[in-house]
């Protein structure tokens, strides 16, 4: 069931992305609405697919890289679609759509790892931990996209040609609001995720903090985002500096997400998750 839904989701995302890219080239409003509608449909199916996988696997479907990429693409698409309701940035469908398609494709070719069905993954704390971390990642990925768009539009404005890039990208003001909103929400969710993770670790593993590589990188990432939020709100580092920071902080996030999960040994790494036992007495 979840596999079928996965492929239908991929198809909807692909079609939605292609139509959004068509809108990017031709700038027809009809294409924009059609692409957006398809992405919404895809997101709905995606949610169903993940729910089905949860039911089928019995645990939150985020125990392997395959599943994590799946959830991450869901979070990114969700962040884009929801934020777009309030701050319409029409170009995002054509950017986030293909990214989600690629993430889903990558998830599809990765090996299926049998879900770990230990009690450790059924606690409410870990569910909160995983969901808020992933939703936070989606929003912060959006912040990074917004930052890249900001830098591009800034460059287009300074080129003084009012060319195709200038016309297609939204205003700096809107991108800045997008960055601020997604940064605030993403940072909040990430904080909740880290705290719930620490609480869970205390309950399950006996200590809040174990200097696991992923924990260390997550702390570094969190500190970077905290610094970014501080400089933005207090020093007024919006604009180019803020945009560069959002890209740099996202690079740290990717290291936390992939690097620490794949390359560095530790109990957060996907390969060792199976070894993780249930809550210790």
């Amino acid at each position: 069931m979840s596999t079928t839904l996965h492929w239908i989701t991929l198809a909807a995302y692909l079609l939605g992305s292609l139509i959004s890219l068509g809108f990017l080239v031709r700038q027809r409003q009809g294409l924009y609405r059609m692409g957006l509608a398809l992405l919404w449909v895809g997101f709905g199916l995606h949610t169903l697919a993940l729910a089905a996988a949860w039911v089928e696997g019995g645990v939150l479907p985020a125990t392997s890289l395959r599943q994590s990429l799946d959830v991450f693409s869901w979070a990114l698409m969700g962040a884009v679609l929801v934020v777009n309701l309030r701050l319409e940035v029409k170009i995002l469908g054509a950017l986030a759509g293909p990214i989600c398609v690629l993430l889903l494709l990558a998830a599809s070719v990765l090996p299926v790892v049998p879900s770990v069905k230990t009690a450790a993954f059924k606690s409410a704390w870990i569910i909160v931990h995983v969901i808020s971390i992933m939703a936070g990642y989606g929003l912060l990925a959006l912040t990074c996209l917004g930052g890249v768009l900001y830098l591009t539009q800034d460059k287009a404005l300074r080129a003084k040609t009012m060319g195709p890039v200038f016309r297609r990208l939204p205003s700096l003001g809107r991108l800045d609001s997008l960055n601020q909103a997604s940064l605030l929400a993403g940072f909040l969710l990430m904080t909740i995720g880290l705290i719930s993770g620490a609480v869970y670790a205390q309950m399950a593993l006996g200590s809040y903090w174990r200097w696991d590589p992923k924990e260390v990188w997550a702390l570094i990432t969190w500190l970077l985002y905290a610094a970014m939020l501080h400089t933005r709100l207090v020093q007024g580092w919006r604009g180019r500096r803020g945009a560069w920071l959002s890209v740099a902080a996202f690079a740290a996030l990717v290291i936390t997400f992939l690097g620490a999960g794949l390359l560095m040994p530790g109990y957060h790494s996907f390969s060792s998750m199976a070894d993780l036992g249930g809550p210790r007495p």
């Binding site: 300074r158 200038f166 205003s171 700096l172 003001g173 500096r241």
Partner: protein, 427 residues
């Protein structure tokens, strides 16, 4: 009757020379009276804007030129020779063409800017109030307004200048998203700046501050926009409070320095600042455009933005020039026709005189005629005379439309000799 135009503009004279020539508005009627009192000068209009000073005069066929030049150059606080070397002089069709081009904004600093027509209308009103225009200039100026209107409606030449404001609005929208509630600062009081401010306000900019060298002008402008005036010394402090700056002073050096902009950006805590510099030479240091959070567009950037989006701009200008050329020919033929009018009326008058005299003599001998018969005879003679003079009149009219002034003059002289018309001046 000859048309003469003499003056200087941004194309021929530096600002210092233009400045010393531009008369204060209240002295213009007096100046106009002095011009028409010059020997050989019959009618005059004086156009004076920040970019040009021109005198248009209808003079006798021979003369007026030296007097006009001397009048324009002397007593202006500059050496007459210095002024004279910047002057241009046009006569006849060239003067008409120049006037049409100026009014159509083809000769403007910013081609297509719309204010010049209004300025020429004001100049004309001043001249009519002073009573220094008559047949020729009245007709010429009205024609000028028509030509300018025609150029504006049939070509897209006005699009360029309006587009500068339009481009400014588009750029502002790409920086701030919505202009609702933003505040603008106008430095210097130029026409393009006023136009840009009005466009920005139409888009929602709600607060306008005006800084100007003379505070009175700043106060006056600010009142029109419901804003308030500041002095140039306060610029640095105010920069931190506004979102859009439109600079258009005549200052030879930059009014807004990179240092001021940097301080403003700091005060604004990263909110962007948009500079529109339409002054020549520029008012905002170019280094400002490289600062984080500062976006600087000067007049060249804006026009190149406009031109980049307008492939057919040269075509517009060419089309406008064609309209001007066409209208010049029409007006010149009317002007030439003016010379033919006295001859035509003299011919018609002579024919009518002969007819009435002969009728009177004949009716004296034919006393038994009924009133109906008298009326019929009257109609007959009228028709005869009309048909006889019709062809010569058509010849004169045709000549006045198609021939050069010299040929026309010779042919008129011939007609006068053939019909033995007395000389009664050129009018």
């Amino acid at each position: 009757m000859k048309l003469q135009l003499i003056g200087l503009s941004h194309k021929t004279a530096p600002l210092e020379v233009r400045e010393c020539l531009a008369p204060p508005p209240e002295t213009v009627p007096g100046e106009l009276h002095r011009i028409v009192e010059l020997p050989g000068v019959r009618e005059a209009v004086m156009v004076s804007t920040c970019n040009r000073v021109e005198v248009l005069a209808a003079t006798e066929d021979n003369g007026g030129e030296a007097e006009l030049t001397q009048w324009l150059c002397s007593g202006r606080g500059q050496a007459p020779e210095l002024i004279a070397e910047h002057l241009y002089r046009y006569q006849g069709a060239d003067a008409v063409r120049h006037l049409f081009r100026v009014a159509s904004s083809l000769d403007s600093l910013v081609v297509g800017e719309p204010q010049i027509l209004g300025q020429i209308k004001d100049a004309y009103r001043t001249a009519t109030d002073a009573g220094t225009t008559r047949t020729v200039l009245n007709r010429l100026l009205h024609k000028t307004f028509q030509v300018a209107k025609r150029v504006r409606s049939e070509t897209n030449i006005g699009g360029a200048a309006v587009s500068i404001s339009f481009a400014a609005v588009e750029l502002a929208k790409k920086i701030f998203d919505s202009l609702e509630g933003l505040s603008a600062l106008v430095v210097g009081a130029g026409e393009m700046a006023e136009l840009a401010v009005e466009h920005l306000m139409a888009q929602g900019v709600s607060k306008v501050q005006v800084a100007n060298r003379t505070l009175e002008r700043a106060v006056e402008l600010a009142r029109g926009w419901g804003g308030h005036a500041i002095s140039l010394d306060e610029l640095g402090a105010v920069l931190g409070e506004v979102d859009i700056v439109i600079a258009s002073t005549g200052s030879p050096q930059a009014v807004i320095t990179a240092k001021m902009a940097r301080a403003a950006v700091k005060a604004r805590r990263g909110r962007p600042l948009f500079f529109i510099d339409i002054a020549v030479p520029r008012d905002v240091e170019s280094a400002v455009g490289e600062l984080d959070g500062c976006y600087l567009y000067d007049i060249d950037d804006l026009t190149s933005v406009v031109e980049a989006n307008r492939a057919g701009r040269a075509v517009e200008a060419g089309q406008a020039e064609r309209i001007v050329a066409e209208e010049v020919v029409k007006f010149m033929s009317w002007l030439a026709g003016l010379d033919a009018v006295p001859t035509i009326s003299a011919l018609a008058a002579k024919a009518e005189e002969i007819r009435t005299a002969e009728m009177a003599r004949t009716l004296k001998d034919l006393s038994e005629l009924t009133p109906e018969q008298v009326a019929a005879l009257d109609r007959l003679t009228q028709a005869l005379v009309k048909k006889l003079v019709h062809d010569p009149i058509m010849f004169i009219k045709g000549a006045s439309h198609n021939k050069s002034p010299d040929t026309l003059r010779q042919q008129l002289a011939l007609v006068r000799r053939i019909f033995n018309l007395e000389e009664n001046g050129g009018e």
